[in-house]
């Protein structure tokens, strides 16, 4: 159950994973230690699924050339700026973008978690270009109750989900602090779930948590204890984001050379791989 980040990625994330989901939202609760290990080991991913709003985790994986396709509704850094590696990859068509919306991601994960074959979306969502841009992910049906035309989205069933939580107990029950965004759904929908945590839970601590802040251990494949492992993104309940650290990334990652420098300076060169 408890592995180092090196062991977890090596054993549980096969090269060429079909659908890899990475949790957190904006520059909060990105499971960066796990993501850095993916970069170190150069684990390629056929499709990356982000939460409705991704930032550093996604930009780093894309910049490292590890992602063939990204299914996302937002990759950026809010007030700090656009996502440099994502921009470069998308603008050079080096990556295929499966443009989704919040509804397609969240309802799609709900469908994946619950074994629903697909999910019908609220009327009006078909008016955006999201569904036209990615006909592979969306279909139009006739509502069998009303006869209306209805947009439906595919379920999202990650092969692997990487998420962050505040603490875990010895059986892999984990709990979240602050907001947990789409992280529980990402875990519930995935075959393999690796949870990066700040610390071990104290005795009785998980039992004292409310139902919805907890992910029971039978949904968790492995736990990686990585204190301060979300930095430079925030970990709700533990620390805020490191704005200078994020700005340093954004500055360097403006160029491919700068990105490589960032990867090397931050311990993500392949030479940093440990057994």
């Amino acid at each position: 159950m408890f592995l180092s980040s090196a062991e977890a990625i090596e054993r549980l994330v096969p090269q060429g994973t079909g659908l890899l989901a990475v949790g957190g939202m904006h520059m909060h609760n990105n499971p960066m230690e796990l993501v850095r290990e993916l970069v170190r080991r150069r684990r390629g991913v056929r499709r990356l699924l982000t939460s409705p709003s991704a930032s550093l985790a996604a930009d780093l994986l894309i910049g490292a050339g590890l992602v063939d396709e990204v299914a996302t509704a937002y990759i950026g850094f809010e007030h700090l700026g656009l996502a440099p590696a994502y921009r470069r990859a998308a603008e050079s068509a080096a990556i295929n973008v499966v443009e989704l919306c919040e509804a397609a991601i969240v309802h799609g994960l709900y469908a994946g978690a619950g074994g629903l074959p697909f999910i019908a979306l609220p009327a009006g969502l078909e008016l955006s270009d999201v569904s036209s841009a990615n006909p592979e992910h969306f279909r139009t049906l006739t509502d069998p109750f009303t006869g209306d035309r209805v947009l439906v989205a595919a379920p999202l069933r990650p092969n692997v989900s990487l998420i962050h939580a505040i603490a875990a107990d010895e059986r892999g029950n984990v709990f979240f602090a602050g907001a947990h965004f789409t992280d529980r759904l990402m875990a519930m929908a995935a075959k393999t779930v690796i949870v990066q945590v700040e610390r071990m839970a104290e005795a009785g601590e998980i039992a004292a948590q409310p139902a919805e802040s907890v992910l029971p251990g039978f949904l968790v494949t492995a736990v990686v204890v990585a204190p301060r492992g979300c930095l430079p993104t925030a970990s709700h309940g533990a620390y805020g984001y490191d704005e200078p650290g994020l700005r340093a990334y954004l500055k360097l990652a403006r160029t491919a050379e700068g990105f490589t420098e960032y990867v090397q300076v931050n311990g993500m060169a392949p030479s940093e791989v440990t057994a």
């Binding site: 509704a73 603008e91 509804a103 907001a179 965004f181």
Partner: protein, 257 residues
Amino acid sequence: MSTAVEVEYSTGELMAAVMARHLRPGEVAIMGAVSALPQAACRLAQLTSAPGLWFIAGGSGAVNPHLDPLVASSCDERLLDADAVMTLPDVILVEGRGDLIDIFFAGGLQIDAHGNCNLGPIGPWRHPTLRGPGGVGLPFVSRAGRVVIYSMSHDRRTFVEHVDFVSGPGFAAGSVALHGGGPALIVTPLCTMDFDSDTHLARLATLHPGVTLAQVLESTGFAPIVPPKLETTPVPTPDQLAILRGLDPTGLLRGGA
């Protein structure tokens, strides 16, 4: 004889005051990424002209965050200091139901004459000249009571005749009806616009103090309807400014959030 005191205010503060005046008591508003400005507007409205207003700081799930202080990121943990908090999946349900959200604050790298917003690709979809971050929940504007569009940039790159990609649908040229009320207000650093009820085209409403009509037309990539008489946008009152500055000690609205 008037003894008006000249009060200095930032563009952000002016825009927050304009947006606050658009909100009514008891309404429910929602906003997404990079939303310190509409959050400040909502809190200002709660404390002045729209008591009982509800606002949901999208990604965080916070309902009526106390903004003590205003923060830059829409998912900052400090937003959870709020009247109540929802999960993000529950926020998506509330957005989808279609009869709960009165005001949806939207934005775009491109905004067009029908109030369509684009936060996705600029240029060809598969090979964009500028890959925007993405629209997150913007498709849900189609189900909101009114859409308030705001932008910190007012130039021809932002305000275009037709967006290249519809992230948040405005009024369509064709016959497709929005399920909600559609775009109602645009607030920029230069002016405010509303929408003509017949043509569903953007119409200039007020010019900010010191801004000329020519300046707006030159900075806008579409031709807004220009009404015979253009009012000047009311400046924030000293009370409004005091409230905004109380929320915003670090000056997010003054440095340009």
